[in-house]
């Protein structure tokens, strides 16, 4: 269990200059077995917080407690056996295979020369397998795709056999399937190995769908903790991320662009065609209506779309034609 107690993070003052506090008064808990996702608008100090949790920079005030003992009181080598980190640094050394890179994670467990024993090799093989990177083991890391590299770096962290893994933006630069797969992998690892997993990400929608607990850094510099649903219900998500052009739709869990100035639209269509029509109309500036009356009604007749606006009915045979018309409705 990783506990933050009245924690302040930032950069200490040097030579008379005052220290720069990035976040202060943080209280939170990341439990074993939970996927804890750290989110917040850009520049609020997510990375600084993670670096402090990892012991890469000292806390300005307060404590980070690992299973009850302050991380600053734990010897560096011992801490490395309990906390593993995946950083944002992306350039990997050449002439190193994925297996060798994963083997580097055994560093805190090996002896003076760093020689891996049979047991170490077994852990490396397990870590590669657990991270879904077993098939990459003998490939040079410089030849891997971004998603594959992230898996190997996760395997390296697992090879440390830690109680807690901290990951800074592991899904950046990944395509959508790889992001979902990586987050799913992290959640599975948290469950199966009873790990504390803290991940920071920019991918808010994915975080809200997959996280067990959210740590939300709000623009005021406070840390809000809870399940994704709690934070959505109490408005913390909207307060932090809504902008002039964007708002968080609580029910669907996605962000929608504003600009719905065209009026309300009522859609009648069967199956998946209904929501898709609504999405297309929303993009063109209409707000879906739950029932009549509505400014615009669109009906799928089975072979064409009929759109009724101001008493006039227009027929479109393709969805594209309807969408184009809906942007600038005319005769």
């Amino acid at each position: 269990m990783l506990t933050l107690r009245s924690l302040s993070v930032g950069y200490p003052g040097r030579r008379g200059r005052p220290s720069r506090r990035v976040l202060s008064g943080l209280d939170a808990v990341a439990r074993s077995g939970d996927l804890t996702v750290l989110i917040g608008p850009n520049g609020t100090g997510k990375s600084t917080l993670l670096r402090t949790l990892a012991g890469l920079q000292p806390a300005l005030e307060g404590d980070v407690l690992l299973d009850g003992s302050p991380v600053t009181a734990i010897d560096a080598a011992e801490l490395a056996r309990r906390v593993a980190v995946v950083l944002t640094e992306r350039d990997l050394p050449a002439l190193l295979t994925a297996r060798e890179l994963t083997g580097l994670g055994r560093h805190p467990h090996t002896g003076f020369t760093g020689r891996l024993t049979a047991a170490d090799h077994a852990v490396v093989a397990w870590a590669l397998d657990a991270a879904g990177a077993a098939h990459l083991a003998e490939r040079p890391v410089t030849e891997l795709s971004d998603g594959e590299r992230q898996r190997v770096l996760t395997a390296r962290a697992l090879a440390q056999e830690p109680a807690a893994i901290l990951l800074d933006e592991p899904t950046a630069f990944l395509d959508v399937p790889s992001r979902v797969a990586l987050m799913g992998l992290l959640r599975r690892l948290a469950r199966e190995r009873s790990l504390v997993v803290v991940v920071s990400t920019h991918d808010l929608e994915l975080a809200l769908r997959i996280a067990d607990r959210i740590w939300l850094v709000d623009p005021g510099g406070a840390l809000r903790c809870g399940t994704p649903e709690e934070l959505t219900l109490d408005g913390a998500i909207s307060t932090s991320f809504d902008g002039d052009d964007l708002s968080f739709d609580a029910a669907s869990g996605v962000f929608v662009l504003h600009g719905g100035g065209s009026g309300t639209a009522l859609v009648t269509a069967d199956g998946v065609r209904g929501p898709l029509l609504e999405r297309a109309l929303t993009r063109e500036g209409w707000r879906p209506a739950a029932g009549p009356p509505a400014d615009l009604t669109v009906t799928w007749t089975g072979d064409a779309y009929e759109a009724a606006l101001n008493g006039t009915t227009h027929r479109f045979t393709t969805l594209a034609a309807l969408t184009d018309w809906a942007r600038r409705p005319g005769p």
Binding site: A54, G55, L56, A76, A77, E78, L79, A80, R81, V83, A84, V85, L87, E89, D91, L92, P93, A94, L95, L96, T97, R99, E100, L101, G103, L104, G105, H107, P108, T110, F112, T113, G114, R115, L116, A118, H121, E138, P140, T142, Q160
Partner: protein, 355 residues
């Protein structure tokens, strides 16, 4: 790291290391057997063994000229190559080399000061400057190298980023080089020539007396470097990752800079600033062994560095001509095409690598 002794990659590494060890032996024999005075191999062997039938003249040549020269070449090559690997990993930069932080510039400044007469203000031993002694040069070079090393170590305590440290090191080197240029511009031509001769590098000047100090210093630093393979491996991923794996990065940085600089500084003191080996051999070793794992790479660099250095030593003798070529001209002119060819043939190198 892959289990040593299993798999095709591991077998290749063992083969390469054995091959390199054999190359060192062959190159050492050649360095003793060949020289500016022609001598058949059988006579050279007899002289080397100090057999009763050996020619006394041959014995003198072998034991006072060629053997110390070959041992110096072997040590210098191993030292510069290991220091090169250390620097390239520490700075995560393929252009880093043992002299990048100005160690050789410091040594050069020390020698330039003594040669041009300015050093005479500082010590009595330089009194008879015109016939500057061997000891004077060695002491001056060591002093200069140690001064720059001290400066860099002090700065490294204050600088967080290795990149900044690298830039500072290059600055110190450039500033030192400029001072040397100034010194030479205001000294007479003969003394400038004397300095120039030193700066071309040579394995030929070392005596057994020199080796009595050079060999233990170099050997100790080599052992210290080989003992540091584990943290160097952790540094492959950068200082951030190394710290999260329990490495005390500041201490490792200081120890690595210290050993690399002692290696480079001692070579410079006895042989002058030997160019190129420290930059090229680490790349060649990495590509030959196909790994960045320092547990394989550092021993490989020791062997390859010694072999290449001995080969250069043989080449300087220009067999038969009776003249001796400047060492730095040989290492660079012969070495650069070889390295460029290796780089062009390697897929890894063509696609670029970070370390």
């Amino acid at each position: 790291m892959t289990d040593p002794g299993s798999g095709p990659a591991a077998r290749r590494r063992v083969t390469v290391l054995v091959g390199l060890a054999a190359a060192v032996v062959v190159a050492f024999v050649l360095a003793v057997a060949l020289g500016s005075t022609p001598m058949p191999l059988d006579r050279a062997v007899l002289a080397l063994l100090r057999a009763d039938a050996a020619d006394p003249g041959d014995e003198v040549i072998i034991w006072t000229v060629r053997l110390p020269r070959a041992v110096t070449a072997l040590l210098a090559g191993a030292a510069l190559s290991v220091a090169g690997v250390q620097m390239q990993t520490l700075f995560r930069n393929p252009l880093a080399e043992p002299y990048i932080l100005g160690v050789s510039s410091g040594a050069s400044l020390g020698v330039a000061l003594v040669v041009t007469g300015w050093g005479g203000l500082a010590g009595a031993f330089t009194g008879g400057i015109a016939g500057l002694g061997r000891a004077g040069v060695v002491v001056a070079a060591s002093g200069g190298a140690a001064a720059v090393l001290g400066l860099v170590l002090v700065l490294s305590r204050r600088v967080r980023s290795v990149v900044t440290l690298l830039v500072i090191g290059v600055m110190v080197g450039s500033a030192t080089a400029s001072i040397i240029t100034l010194l030479l511009a205001y000294s007479d031509a003969q003394r400038a020539q004397q300095y120039l001769g030193w700066s071309l590098g040579s394995y030929a000047g070392t005596t057994w007396g020199d080796l009595a100090l050079f060999a233990p210093v170099c050997g100790t630093a080599l052992v210290a470097a080989l003992a540091g393979v584990k943290p160097l491996n952790a540094l492959l991923l950068g200082e951030g990752y190394a710290r999260t794996m329990g490495v005390r990065v500041r201490r490792v940085r200081t120890v690595t800079l210290l050993t690399a600089s002692v290696l480079a500084g001692s070579v410079t003191a006895y042989c002058g600033p030997v160019a190129f080996l420290g930059l090229a051999v680490p790349h060649m070793a990495k590509l030959l062994l196909g790994t960045a794992d320092h547990r394989v790479l550092l021993p490989g660099a020791v062997l390859l560095g010694a072999a290449v250095s001995l080969a250069c030593c043989v080449a300087t003798q220009a067999p038969g001509s009776g003249s001796v070529l400047p060492l730095n001209a040989v290492t660079t002119v012969l070495g650069a095409p070889v390295v460029i060819t290796i780089l062009l043939r390697s897929r890894t190198a063509r696609s670029g690598w970070a370390v």
